[in-house]
Amino acid sequence: MHDDLALRGARYVRRRVFDWVAGVGRVTMLLGDVGRYLAPGLRSFGLVVRQMGAIGVGSLWLVVVVSVFTGAVAAVQAAYQFSTVVPLKYIGSVIMRSVIIELGPVLTALIVGGRVGSSIAAELGTMKVTEQIDALRAMAINPVRYLVVPRVVAAVIMMPVLTIFANAIAIFGGFVVSITSIGVSAHTYTTSLKDFFYMKDLVSGLLKAVMFGGIIGTMGCFYGFATEGGAEGVGVATTHAVVSACVLVLISDYVLANVLFRFIFAR
């Protein structure tokens, strides 16, 4: 009885590991195809621009709302933690650096990952189950060139742009809360921003955003293309795209933090 249970458990683990390895292989092949069709895909730049609008402009208001409150919460939390040990004149710099290094890129990626990752997976998944992707192939149009390259490129371009917006708005949210409810003057806040601004912080945050954009676009397209069945399959693909994009964003955030701050920008 116990042996049987153990055997079934081992088979389940083996199957999951095999599926995971196969999935990694398929994503790698998709990325290889994206590289192969990048140049021809960019020749139809109108498709990229259309996706940039859908990904960037479409996500802007959500990013604005989340960023305002991110900055506001960062100000309240900083004031609480500073209360006994750090002068409040440093609050601007702490908000700014935590936003541009970490909160801006990561929270923007999680928001865009949810909104855009699901949207891409649902659109491509529906195209798959209604034979629209087969129709493209039958019309001698490569689906990776026509569908995947514009989405991945647009996500890679728009994520840093959205992150810059998110950074600015979060710092502004922190500014408003600092001067209205914490008692820090506008001059103190802005001086703190100027004194502790380092270009490498901004660059590292934007490099992360580029990576996150690639992850979100790729995961959305991968799960969209892998959709099987009907509406249920589209739902499953959408969920997988969002979950995998968010998990990969957080894992790659850790990896990039190590690479950027322990090696590239160590000094």
């Binding site: 659109e123 195209m127 629209q132 087969d134 129709a135 001698a140």
Partner: protein
């Protein structure tokens, strides 16, 4: 000319195609009939390279497309138009963009020429002035006709029709059959029509073939099909549940 030899394809546990041999002459209109699930659509998808066979060859104008690289296969695909069962129109595009897509992608036509060609092809299928509509607002019959306009946009040598009349009322189905015939007359195309609609089959076919058990089991003209004593074909064309094939 299309020449298929020994085509085999297994999907899961089922041997869908088990050695299909079929020749389609240039300019011929051939109907592939057979029960649901006998692999008619799978056969069409092999002919245009959307599926890869386990064994066998498919020659299009002397070139075996099995194992061709994507780029070479696409050159062959440009000779084809394919009407999908559900039309497979691109939801995110207008009707005009759907019909004109291959013209923009492959022929690099100027936008005025694309508009002219799109309007012409839509008029051929009886849909004038619908370029700005979205596929979601079209009826089933209109979707099929837009799908046909898209399939013929590049003046293909071959048109493949997957169940062109399924789900349509008899009058619309007859109109679609007329369109299939008129495309053959107007463009001189070779047509392969997959259907289990015998009324449509007799209207559009120069020759009918029957696919059963993964093989072509019958081939003949419309008249030969009507007169055949083959019990399997008779059961199919008469739509009877009594015969060599058990319905359930």
């Amino acid at each position: 000319m299309i020449r298929i030899r020994g085509l085999k394809k297994r999907l899961g546990a089922k041997q869908v195609l088990d050695g299909v041999d079929l020749d389609v002459e240039t300019g011929e209109s051939i109907v592939v009939m057979g029960r649901s699930g006998t692999g008619k659509s799978v056969l069409l998808k092999h002919i245009i390279g959307l599926m890869t066979p386990d064994a066998g060859s498919i020659e299009v104008d002397g070139t075996n497309i099995v194992g061709l690289k994507e780029r070479d296969l696409n050159e062959i695909r440009k000779r084809f138009g394919l009407l999908f069962q559900g039309a497979a129109l691109f939801d995110s595009m207008t009707v005009g963009e759907n019909v004109g897509l291959t013209l923009v992608e492959h022929m690099r036509m100027k936008s005025a020429d694309v508009r002219r060609r799109v309007a012409e092809r839509l008029e051929w299928v009886g849909l004038k002035g619908v370029e700005a509509m979205k596929p979601g607002s079209l009826s089933g019959g209109m979707r099929k006709r837009v799908g046909l306009a898209r399939a013929i946009a590049m003046d293909p040598q071959y048109i493949l029709y997957d169940e062109p009349t399924t789900g349509l009322d008899p009058i619309l189905a007859d109109a679609i059959c007329e369109l299939v015939r008129s495309m053959q007359r107007r463009l001189g195309v070779t047509s392969i029509v997959v259907t289990h609609d015998m009324v449509a089959a007799y209207k559009v076919a120069d020759r009918l073939v029957m696919l059963d058990g993964g093989r072509i089991v019958f081939s003949g003209t419309a008249e030969e099909t009507r007169q055949t004593r083959d019990p399997l074909v008779r059961q199919f064309i008469e739509g009877s549940s009594q015969g060599p094939v058990h319905a359930v």
